[in-house]
Symmetry: C2
Subunit: 317 residues, 2 copies
């Protein structure tokens, strides 16, 4: 299991290019809920999502000889561009396995940050096969679902939340394979055991929620959501163990609630959030999570949405 010490080690390694992101007051939401709500703005993180932290640390923590031929991961988008960026910072080649269905917007962004994109067919099995091929070719593959340094990197967000708001009572975190919430919950609960940590998923992509309720890692047959950063069909085993230990509840939000939250974040927060980044706000706006008057933090995990798509959502489509 990843410890607070592991997370602190990751934090100490992060360069200034990886930002301590602001906590922004969500006034309208606070007034609606009768509780002070803040957004942890990882959409303002370099590369536009929280992934840069873990990307940097998972590479930095490798022994030198394992960096020589480059590093490969599979990603639906944000992890790819963040890893390309982190590799460029450290002079390490990066190979990003992305499915053919991935938004061209995210592929292009990954290339811009200096990553080498390797496309594969639209299924999870094809991702793993492509990674295994790269591994045979001598590239260091990081299996991000099960990598402790990834969880530790994500956990630095939790350290920042508690540093900036020591009285945090409730932290909401978007969930896909579970690495993000595993890291954040570990940091938050170790530093402030009284705080609740709640995970949020789209109704159409609820693998962690199903797994958490059943008490074991469970694969769901399909995912269907506009939140293209939250499409894991099963949680990682290692994240799942952390979630069982540290997470208080899992909540689901509808596609309409996610869109409404993106609109709210633009109108009242002046923040561009992607669908996956807006699920926590959706959980609050819809009344599905009650902060009970406590200091609440909704993690806005990213802002990488194609502007055409974004404009249509703002127009209520």
């Amino acid at each position: 299991m990843v410890t607070l010490e592991d997370i602190r080690k990751a934090q100490a390694a992060l360069p200034p290019a990886i930002r301590h992101t602001p906590l922004a007051r969500a006034d309208a939401l606070s007034a609606q809920l009768g509780a002070p709500v803040r957004w942890k703005c990882e959409n303002l993180q370099v590369t536009g999502s929280y992934k840069a932290r873990a990307s940097y640390w998972m590479i930095a923590a490798l022994p030198e000889e394992r960096k020589r031929n480059g590093v490969a991961i599979s990603s639906s988008g944000n992890f790819a561009s963040a890893t390309a960026f982190a590799g460029s910072l450290q002079g390490v080649r990066t190979f990003l396995v992305m499915m053919e269905s991935t938004s061209p917007f995210k592929v292009e962004k990954t290339r811009r940050y200096g990553g080498e994109v390797v496309t594969c067919p639209n299924n999870f099995e094809a991702r793993w096969e492509t990674l295994r091929r790269l591994e045979r070719e001598g590239v260091t593959v990081i299996w991000t679902f099960e990598e402790p340094n990834v969880i530790a990197g994500h956990g630095t967000i939790g350290l920042e939340i508690v540093a900036d708001l020591p009285a945090a009572d409730l932290v909401l975190v978007p969930v896909s394979s579970g690495g993000l919430i595993a890291g954040v919950a570990t940091a938050v609960k170790e530093l402030r055991p009284s705080a609740r940590v709640i995970g949020v998923q789209p109704e159409g992509s609820n693998a962690m929620t199903v797994s958490w309720r059943r008490g074991e890692v469970t694969e769901i047959p399909e995912v269907k959501t506009i939140a293209d950063a939250l499409i894991a069909r099963y949680p990682g085993k290692l994240p799942f163990a952390h979630v069982r230990k540290h997470v208080d509840d899992m909540v689901l939000v509808s596609e309409a609630e996610i869109k409404q939250a993106m609109i709210h974040l633009a109108e009242h927060g002046k923040l561009v959030a992607e669908a996956g980044g807006a699920v926590t706000t959706a959980a609050l706006l819809s009344g599905k999570v009650d902060p009970a008057g406590g200091n609440t933090v909704a993690l806005v995990s990213g802002g990488n949405v194609a502007l055409e798509t974004y404009a249509r959502i703002l127009q209520g489509e």
Copy 2:
């Protein structure tokens, strides 16, 4: 003239609800220009624009008896909602004189913050007449163009910029009647005389630029711009005196450049900026201002744009 001491006094009076806004790194812009560029995010200020600071301080600094019957100002939108908010915080009634042509979005927002909106015909003279009427009725009118406490309130932004980036070399500021740049330039130049301060206006609303070039306050016959926060037909005399003393240059940007900057801020900064808030980014993106490798700050003064309008701009219309 407003002094650094006046600005520090304003800063000391501001409550926690008025935020110390973040400086966000503008990576893509920095790469394009070969200079570290940051956005001073006053769009993330409470009420969605920088005005809350001056609104709070101009009311707080009044003697008690002058607050009793309420305070009135005239505003194209942002100053109105910010003053409504600041009045509510201090238990002072506020009357906001707004022209009939003002965006319903900004009128609605002002009412939501507890302000009493007084509409008047679509010309500057009608604004002043309405204010004089309110004054006769016993309301304290603040003539915001010429009020030193307004400049001092705006100046707190300059204090924050230099506190967060002591090595600032260049600060770009949107300009309408000139109060904002008067305050920011005073703070920046007093603390860091080597820094350049440049004002930016839309080509279609260039009263300060014309005045600055001629060396005297000049009224222009009309304004025409999507930047509905930057529509002063002449600068204030007091701001103008500060601009002559402290400002290094004035630059004009086109409507197309402003829209491109709004798109850039959304795509690369994940920030919703209104047109008036995007002019400084437009001046950099278009190459009209050369940072010469120095530490550059583009002030994003607000994010209050109706989402329909915003969506159309993001779609390139």
